[in-house]
């Protein structure tokens, strides 16, 4: 048997040498530690009676109330509600493809950025599992959604009134949630749907929204060489090759003119042009966003794309251009593959085509194409293929002097009610 040291002890049952911390001897299968026998305190009858009597009284009153008053159903993520015609399974979900209730929605958010996402109410017949949304809608008097409490502070949540939505034709009610994380800390809020039925019943459904700060990695020209397209490409290659890079990579570009082609690959990278008084960041060559499956969006902001033919920004993965200028190109912004592309506050001037949507697959991540100016293009917008039937909303956008304003080849639903055509 091994010699004893100060870190050892002997099993009192079989004499085996054990580590000092051992609570059990595996050689004789006996415990070697002291154990406390814990048991909840015996029931105090007097105390119990004192507690139970009022409870029973209240319970009796409550039972009487329930027999004569409308019911209130509550649940988190899901609830079963019965009326005279049957039982319904109501549940909240976060995407059209998911048919499962969700109790919690976790999102990463860059601090200060505004996001929007849907919360879908589905209604199934509890017995057959089939969709019962249409029949259930008939029974609703009023439905509201709100965020009554926000935990942790540092975040804003608002939501639209639940209503049918064109992007989710099979879903009876949808509320769109706008959220912004304002501090570098996790924040959460409970969203509560209140459904008042015509028969006086009330259904309350809750879901938690939890926002986590998106870790960011920022690159500035004073820290990293990015004075030429080659240097910038080398930086992008290095970031793409990193084993575990931060999810949100921001490159703040200097006021320079980059020529030649730049390729974004491997992961989403955000490029921010110069907004100081020293001039603008200009690209005279193309930027190509290669196909990826991760769904992250590459943001391009405050950049001037000044070309002489070709495609300014070609995206096979999600991309969004904000406050950018596209001028002198065969095509300004081109989306293909699984890309969802957006332009917000951009100017498309003197291009063959300003914005060309030609993506076969993918999911929508934004419906707004607001505050753009499409001026003197051959065709301002070509919609050849657009994934999903989401209505594209051109609110605040101006179409002026184009050969064709919108070539909607795929018949995409559009909201042009607040666009301006001059």
């Amino acid at each position: 048997m091994a010699e004893h040291t100060e870190k050892q002890k002997v099993c009192p049952h079989c004499g085996a040498t054990l580590p000092e911390e051992a609570a059990f001897c595996p050689y004789c299968a006996q415990t070697v530690n002291r154990r406390s026998h814990l048991k909840a305190p015996a029931k105090g009858w007097r105390r119990a009676l004192m507690v139970l009597m009022p409870l029973l009284l209240v319970g009796g009153i409550a039972a009487g109330y329930h027999l004569t008053h409308p019911q209130i159903c509550e649940g988190v993520g899901e609830v079963y509600y019965s009326d005279l015609s049957g039982t319904y399974h109501l549940f909240l979900s976060e995407s059209a493809s998911l048919q499962e209730p969700v109790q919690e929605m976790r999102q990463n958010a860059a601090i200060g950025d505004a996001y929007r996402g849907p919360v879908l109410l589905r209604v199934h017949d509890a017995d057959t599992g089939t969709d019962a949304g249409a029949a259930f809608l008939e029974k609703i008097d009023r439905v509201t959604a709100e965020f009554p409490t926000i935990e942790g502070g540092g975040a804003k949540f608002v939501c639209t009134a639940p209503a049918p939505h064109s992007a989710f034709p099979d879903v009876p009610l949808v509320s769109l949630v706008d959220y912004t994380l304002e501090a570098d800390a996790e924040a959460a809020a409970e969203m509560v749907w209140t459904i008042d039925m015509k028969n006086g019943d009330t259904i309350r459904l809750g879901v938690k929204y939890i926002l986590s700060p998106l870790p960011a990695e920022d690159y500035y020209p004073e820290d990293v060489p990015m004075g030429t397209t080659e240097e910038l490409q080398a930086l992008i290659d290095e970031i793409a090759a990193a084993a575990d890079p931060s999810p949100n990579v921001n490159i703040y570009l200097p006021a320079l003119t980059y020529d030649g082609t730049l390729v974004l690959h491997g992961r989403a990278i955000n490029l921010y042009g110069s907004t100081g008084g020293e001039g603008r960041t200009v690209f005279t060559g193309s930027i190509r966003v290669e196909a990826r499956e991760d769904g992250w969006i590459s943001y391009f902001q405050d950049i001037e794309f000044r070309g002489n033919g070709g495609v300014a920004l070609s995206a096979a993965a999600n991309a969004r251009a904000t406050n950018c200028l596209f001028t002198g190109w065969d095509t300004g912004l081109y989306g293909c593959g699984t890309a969802w592309i957006n332009s917000i506050g951009c100017t498309f001037a003197d291009n063959g085509v300003g914005l060309h949507f030609n993506s076969k697959e993918g999911s929508a991540n934004h419906s707004l194409y607001n505050d753009n100016t499409f001026r003197d293009n051959g065709t301002a917008v070509v919609l050849e293929q657009v994934p999903t039937d989401l209505a594209l909303n051109f609110i605040g956008s101006v179409f002026e002097g184009n050969g064709t304003d919108i070539d909607n080849r795929c018949g995409q639903p559009l909201d042009l009610s607040r666009a301006e055509f001059r």
């Binding site: 305190p41 996790e186 939890i210």
Partner: protein, 259 residues
Amino acid sequence: MITQTGRKNNKLPASFGRKFWGGGREDVYDWLREALEREFEVVRPLKEGPRGTIRLLRHRETGRRFVLRQYAGSAEVYRRLRDVQCEHLPQVYEVATRGEDNLVLEEYVQGDTLDCVLRGGLCSPRETRRIARQVCQALWVLHSLGAVHRDVKPENILLRGREAVLIDFDAARLHKPAQDTDTQVLGTTGFAAPEQYGLSQTDGRADIYAMGILINVMRTGQHPSRKLAPGHLGRVVERCTQMMPQKRYPNVLRLMEAL
């Protein structure tokens, strides 16, 4: 690895007592693993999942059966249970940790799960109260140790004769009042309390929520929003399953009194 058909060998290796004992928990891990390999054999796997495995072992010398859990995560709750005894909790014999990996050797409780029993029929009000009280006893011990079970459901309750034993503390965690948020979302959909999915600190009242669902399922087989247990038990269920934790029973003793 523990072998399925390891040959019986009670001899200790020459290095035993020197190689593995440095005094730290990781050394106990190595020691326990080796000792288990030598002194026990695997009877059969009980459960395998992404977070670990549970196996039924037999002590070669005595023939006694034990459950060995190997899983990644925190073992702090098991470590606290190692020093206590309660007839409604399995006895935890040994706990060893290396990094994120844990070995937990515990009592093998022979019996059917409540889930299995409920498939054969619902519980009477009397049975429901008895089982619920016993599970509350187990929860009282856990809560007294500063822990929350977080996964109270029929599959995690074994019926050993007339005794209910609450098992599976893999989802359990210690309640730290100063902590803002749980680090992981665990639990079983339908049985987990609302705050368990969110930022509110999970405390003992999350288990009270799950107790409410459990009591209702024992009586009706269904979630309370679908069919509430009749009578007094239904009212207990309603109180347990209030959305706001403050409106539930403040602790399991109060729930036991109500039962």
